[in-house]
């Protein structure tokens, strides 16, 4: 399993999750978990996905998701899970 965290931050609009999920499905990326919250009026979503079966390497996924974010006016980041595990778990 190659766990990657995708975060989406921005103004809430119709179809954010749909766009991201369609892209992920198209690249054979399995979604393990989704959670969302509103912080200071901004929509915050986090997805835990598994890149093990992905058709593309993480660098490409990261770049393309960022482009999708630009199109719909939100910031999308894609980071390997380890950075969060290392920082928040002993």
């Amino acid at each position: 399993m190659k766990k990657v965290i995708i975060t989406v931050i921005g103004k809430d609009t119709v179809g954010i999750i749909a766009k991201v999920c369609t892209y992920l499905a198209g690249n054979q990326i399995n979604i393990l978990d989704i959670s969302q919250t509103i912080v200071a009026g901004y929509f915050n979503m986090m997805m835990v996905v598994d890149l093990a079966g992905s058709l593309k390497p993480i660098q490409d996924i990261s770049r393309e998701l960022s482009q999708i974010g630009d199109e719909i006016g939100v910031q999308i980041k894609c980071q390997r899970e380890e950075i969060f595990e290392e920082m928040h778990r002993i």
């Binding site: 660098q59 390997r80 969060f84």
Partner: protein, 454 residues
């Protein structure tokens, strides 16, 4: 599993509080390049650096993208060149040619600095050491990416005062040769006492002779993260303050440890150490001075500053040590003037003097760093400032350093501007009384009594 708030906290640190990995420094031993022919030496050095560091920059960028953490600098440190070049270099020009080779290699592999144009003379100097030291001003003026360091003392050896005196002259000369660039040469030249072999930070990085063929050392940073964290516990007791700094330092260091391991694995180079440092940059919100203010002094330099810095330095180490399997380098808070917007403001406000900075260096990781002084300061006074700082390091068994810039043609009230990470520095006044007779004494200051531990 990681929750959304933890993810948001990490990304907030990166995006708003300037959390970054300050440097991945690849240490490369050049001992196997030694040759009696200067051209052969230069060729071997160039080939080895280009071969070992070929993928350093690209690997650093890959790690940045995959983890979403900026890695500001990718750098190289090499074996002190006075050792490597001793057999081949017969003139100062020969050493300058090695500097040019290192500069060329740095440009080829794409690193922004290469450290190790250095001599270790804490007890005495060889002829090669002397030649290299004399070549430093020219080497720094004809290259772009070379950093130079000279180790002048240690707790074990005492202080080589002949070398201290010489460095007073060399620093002045380096300033004059780069006078057209605000004496930039001196920003890339540092003298040290008790220098660590595995320091990843410039200008004092070199690949010590106790190291292996190559090693990955990582320097972390995050003054903005610490500042933000302690601003949330404003007004609370020291126990809460210390606990907050420790927890934050732990988190910051974990990122450094992760990056170090990834870089080591991908480059197939052993992992050396993580340097737990709070290294400021001139960017707003990336300042150690701001942390001191948040702890409770109006400006750095006010009474209480040394105590606040001592506390900060110790908590950073306590939090960081648990986060990494190997800690080394300088590890602590850096207090450069030109590279820290808050320090610059404190100098301009009249709060911070060289004498107070000297006191602060007793309790933090390095020394008098990136301090600009009038260009007409006598070289003996520069040597005196160096001797004071070396004495602090020697007696307190810690690393101390001096990176001072006598800005040619400038006086108190003027400013020098280096740009980028090196920042800008107001010219600070130097005590006008002379130490010429002290500096002109020959020989060395003996090691202190507490160095005899056998």
């Amino acid at each position: 599993m990681i929750n959304i708030f933890e993810v948001l906290e990490t990304n907030e640190m990166i995006e708003r509080e300037n959390l970054d990995v300050r440097t991945i420094t690849l240490g490369i031993s050049l001992l196997d390049c030694i040759d009696s022919d200067i051209q052969a030496l230069n060729r071997k050095i160039y080939e080895k650096i280009c071969r070992v560091a070929e993928k350093l920059v690209a690997t650093g960028k890959d790690i940045e993208r995959e983890f979403g953490i900026p890695i500001v600098n990718k750098r190289i440190s090499v074996t002190p060149i006075a050792l490597v070049g001793g057999a081949a270099a017969k003139t100062e020009e020969d050493f300058v040619s090695v500097a040019e080779t290192l500069d060329q290699a740095a440009k080829t592999v794409g690193v922004n600095f290469i450290g190790g144009f250095s001599a270790l003379v804490s007890k005495s100097m060889t002829e090669a050491d002397r030649l290299l030291i004399h070549s430093i001003p020219k080497a720094l003026s004809v290259t772009d990416r070379i950093c130079s360091s000279v180790v002048l003392g240690s707790t074990r050896t005492g202080i080589n005062m002949d070398a201290v005196r010489l460095m007073g002259d060399i620093i002045k000369e380096a300033a004059e040769l780069t006078a057209d660039r605000d004496s930039l040469g001196c920003a890339k030249l540092v003298v040290l006492c008790n220098a660590p072999d595995d320091n990843p930070f410039m200008a004092g990085a070199f690949h010590g002779v106790t190291e292996g063929d190559s090693v990955i050392n990582v320097g972390v940073s995050g003054p903005g993260v610490v500042k933000t964290a302690i601003s949330r516990v404003r007004g609370q007791g020291f126990d809460v303050l210390c606990e907050t700094i420790k927890k934050t330092a732990f988190k910051v260091t974990r990122v450094g440890q992760l990056v170090a391991h990834e870089a080591s694995k991908r480059l197939n180079v052993p992992f050396g150490i993580v340097d737990l440092s709070l290294a400021p940059t001139p960017a707003i919100g990336d300042s150690v001075a701001d942390i001191l203010k948040e702890i409770g002094v109006e400006e750095p330099g006010a009474p209480g500053t040394t105590a606040a810095l001592a506390l900060l330095n110790d908590q950073v180490k306590k939090g960081g040590v648990m986060a990494s399997s190997y800690v080394g380098g300088l590890s602590g808070a850096f207090i450069p003037v030109s590279e820290d917007q808050g320090m610059i403001e404190a100098v301009n406000a009249g709060a911070l003097t060289i004498e107070k900075l000297e006191a602060m260096t007793c309790v933090c990781s390095v020394g008098l760093d990136m301090i600009a002084i009038p260009g007409d300061t006598p070289s003996t006074s520069i040597a005196g400032i160096i001797a004071d700082e070396m004495a602090l390091g020697m007696v307190n068994q810690k690393t101390t350093a001096v990176r001072i810039i006598p800005a040619i043609g400038k006086k108190v009230g003027d400013t020098v501007e280096f740009g980028g990470l090196l920042g800008l520095a107001p010219i600070m006044p130097v005590n006008p009384f002379s130490c010429k007779d002290l500096i002109e004494r020959e020989g060395r200051i003996p090691a202190p009594i507490h160095s005899f531990k056998n």
